[in-house]
């Protein structure tokens, strides 16, 4: 501290002596990055990204083909999560052999283009959580990206978008879903401002999404029972917001266990609905339930638990807790590591990038390059296809106003970011058609009227600020009644058909048929525009260095290259 009489102090307008400031530091303080919150590591409570001194040393004990000790804990002292992981996620027949391998050697195999994806996966079936954490600790971010490029399940990368608005306006939501289809999102996800709007939001994404592009799959992140019911009715076509945690305490806070989550997963699978779990670094420490363990170590338990349950995939990459790992040293590296672990355990990864995480455009971009450059099954989960003020997942890392920046990065680096450029006229046409299709469905199902004025507004809107208000009391009553009346995806098909939206009706019908065939339950499944499943079964990632794996070329590269902003000789 400086003495007040020191000659480095100066008087301010209020005659209060103040410390004389270096003007560059004053300028730095005003920068976006200094709006973010940063904290020091506090390992005793688990506020540390990787390598907490309280993380256990890797170890396994097997007797009579059963795991009786893991990472220094005897089976009798296992908590719920350890018990589940030991029982379901580690192959006891190979564990001793795999655990005997050096962590550095395993890390090198992940990076080595001469070692196949299958070989790495075989090793991971025999590792404990602490061993996997030790392997990750050997890798820098470039090596992790190398790993992700090789280890992700589907050869073709893709991405997911958020379609929400703060008013829960269904007309705007349908238009936005259609536009997302044009950009070629494989999945679109919505949630609610007002819970009672949930059925309308699901309906808007179903109709709007299938107007934009056949085969886009949609989900509605709401309370678990309602989310399941919407899926069973065929109003949504996948689910993802089933959260799991790395400690027993954190599970109990949500009134849950690994077994209750497994039951829910089975309910979706039994009705042919694609689903994945959600987890992420930072959740346990945020709930003061980390027991001094590092964020990554606990997240590895979540990934293994998801594998053990048998779900085909996992959304991680910190997700809604991103502010926690992002505030400590090496946090974004840990977030990349959790994505990589997910792929090494042969699960689909929907790799985050889905929540506002920094005020700084540099930090936002650097964070996303970790998944965009190697490519993942779903790079964002998801990207705000709407302005962030309308993103009801509390804002995403990128929003619709970043579309051209993101597409230019894709074009600059010849990297597939999962979306392609869209022309203004195509966007307007698709938005208008989706809004009209929803108007027809609402009329046929006896739901509150959608006016032509609303359709016009939704066609050209930037966001919900451009939309007239609806009667929310009437809407939410009708949405509740729609569920009571047992309206299903088939009623939507019939309504669209009766009103002449034959192509949209046919697309919605195809989505209902997917649930019967069940092909899109395979790991990393998405659907092409003509409803062909693209999954780790028929599009398995075969990357093993230059000349192999996914390459951005052909028609898709042309689309990304030929942007509306680029001038040709004939323009000059």
């Amino acid at each position: 501290m400086l003495d007040k009489t020191d000659n480095t102090t100066q008087s301010t307008a209020g005659d209060q002596p103040a410390t004389k400031r270096h003007k560059r530091f004053e300028a730095l303080e005003k920068r976006d990055v200094n709006q973010d919150g940063f904290v020091k590591e506090w390992p005793e409570v688990g506020l540390i990204a990787m390598g907490s001194p309280n993380d256990p040393a890797p170890a396994i004990r097997i007797e009579n083909g059963e795991i009786v000790g893991m990472d220094g804990v005897d089976r009798a002292d296992f908590d719920l999560v350890d018990e589940f992981v030991a029982r379901t996620a580690i192959d006891a027949s190979v564990a001793e052999q795999m655990m005997a391998m050096d962590a550095t050697e395993i890390a090198r195999k992940i990076v080595d283009i001469n070692v196949s994806r299958a070989e790495v996966q075989k090793i991971f079936t025999g590792l404990t959580p602490a061993k996997i954490a030790a392997v990750m600790d050997e890798m820098n971010v470039v090596e992790m990206m190398m790993g992700l490029q090789k280890m992700r399940a589907r050869r073709t990368p893709s991405t997911q978008g958020h379609v929400t608005n703060v008013k829960d306006n269904p007309v705007l939501m349908a238009a936005d879903a259609a536009e997302a289809g044009l950009y070629d999102y494989s999945e679109i996800e919505t949630t609610v401002g007002m819970i009672r709007y949930a059925p309308f939001n699901a309906l808007a994404l179903l109709v709007g999404g299938q107007t934009g592009r056949g085969g886009i799959i949609s989900q509605d992140a709401v309370e678990e029972a309602m989310e399941l019911q919407l899926g069973l009715r065929g109003l949504t076509t996948y689910a993802e917001t089933v959260s799991v945690y790395g400690t027993e305490d954190a599970f109990r806070d949500g009134d849950d266990t690994p077994w209750s989550k497994a039951l829910l997963a089975s309910a979706y699978a039994s009705r042919g609905i694609k689903m994945r779990f959600t987890s992420g670094t930072g959740a346990e420490v945020q709930m003061a339930s980390a027991q001094g363990k590092s964020m990554l170590y606990l997240e590895i338990k979540c990934v293994m638990l998801s594998k053990g349950v048998g779900v085909q995939g996992l959304q991680n990459g910190s997700i809604s807790c991103i502010g926690v790992p992002a505030s400590v040293p090496g946090g974004i590296r840990a977030v990349l590591a959790e994505n990589l672990v997910t792929t090494c355990l042969d699960l689909e990864v929907a790799s985050g990038n889905d929540q506002s995480f920094s005020h700084s455009p540099f930090r936002r971009t650097a964070r996303t390059l970790m998944q965009m450059l190697p490519g993942t099954d779903l790079i964002f989960s998801g990207y705000a296809t709407v302005p962030n003020y309308d993103d009801m997942f509390a804002g995403s890392n990128f929003d619709c106003d970043d579309n051209d920046d993101y597409l230019m990065i894709s074009r600059d680096l010849k990297v597939d970011g999962g979306i392609v450029p869209v022309s203004e006229s195509d966007a307007i046409a698709a938005r208008n058609k989706a809004a009209r299709a929803l108007q027809a469905v609402f009329e046929e199902l006896g739901l509150p009227r959608i006016t032509d004025e609303e359709i016009e507004a939704a066609t050209y809107a930037h966001g919900s600020k451009d939309m007239p208000d609806r009667d929310t009391v009437q809407d939410t009553k009708a949405a509740t009644k729609m569920m009571e009346d047992g309206i299903t995806g088939m009623d939507v098909v019939k309504a669209l058909g009766r009103r002449g939206f034959t192509d949209v009706a046919s697309n919605v019908l195809e989505m209902q048929k997917q649930r019967v065939s069940g092909d899109y339950l395979h790991t990393s499944a998405i659907l092409s525009r003509d409803f062909k499943t693209i999954a780790a079964v028929n599009d398995l990632n075969d990357y093993q260095g230059p000349g192999t794996g996914y390459r951005l070329d052909g028609e898709r590269w042309q689309k990304i290259s030929d942007v509306r902003q680029a001038l040709g000789p004939e323009d000059i």
């Binding site: 919150g37 703060v166 945020q286 502010g323 926690v324 505030s327 400590v328 005020h359």
Partner: protein, 194 residues
């Protein structure tokens, strides 16, 4: 921000324990349930620098504006806001409570609801102004009288997470260290000083 957190709060209060909290019988009271460290630990300020004393004064003012009595209890057994609010509601003669954690996260609860589903939840502490806390008190009092007020309007700031999430976690972890498991809630008298 660090300076704001470091300086002493503008308003202070003295909280005096008056023994175990009893279940109220007066239908015209709202319980203000505070977390284990609230008011006398953790620099006596919320996440974004509001004096704990000022917040309590606004809660009381909002409740009393509706001719309803405010009663303050401290919940020791948990730092979880839903648990604190639910315990407060069960102690309240009207069945209505407001609850707050040291970081400033608040809710209105009612004893017949399930613990994790309060009547109104205010999850973004940094977006809550003193006037919002007064409004929360007022709404709680209206519920106590059997009215159906409009929910207290809230601001949704998509950039609250990058700025506050980690710091909010530290608040919660520190507060959890003051929890006394198995200990009953206590009745508190409050005296304000400026």
């Amino acid at each position: 921000m660090s300076e704001q957190l470091a300086s002493p709060p503008a308003v202070e209060m003295t909280l005096t324990e008056r023994g175990p909290a009893k279940t109220g019988t007066a239908p015209d009271e709202v319980v203000i349930a505070i977390s284990p460290a609230f008011g006398d630990q953790m620099k006596r300020k919320t996440l974004h620098g509001l004096a704990h004393a000022a917040v309590i004064r606004e809660f009381c003012a909002g409740i009393e504006e509706e001719q309803v009595k405010a009663r303050i209890v401290r919940v020791w057994r948990s730092a979880d806001l839903a648990a604190i609010g639910f315990d407060g509601a069960k102690l309240s003669g009207s069945g209505i409570s407001v609850a707050i954690q040291s970081r400033g996260t608040a809710l209105i609860h009612q004893r017949d609801l399930v613990p994790l589903a309060p009547m109104e939840l205010f999850p973004q502490a940094p977006s809550l102004a003193l006037s919002t806390f007064r409004h929360i008190g007022k709404n709680a009092a209206k519920y106590a009288k059997g009215d159906s007020p409009s929910p207290v309007p809230q601001v949704n700031d998509p950039m609250a997470r990058p700025k506050w999430q980690a710091i909010a976690s530290i608040y919660h972890i520190r507060e959890t260290q003051f929890v006394r498991q198995g200990e009953k809630a206590v009745e508190l008298d409050v005296e304000f000083h400026t």
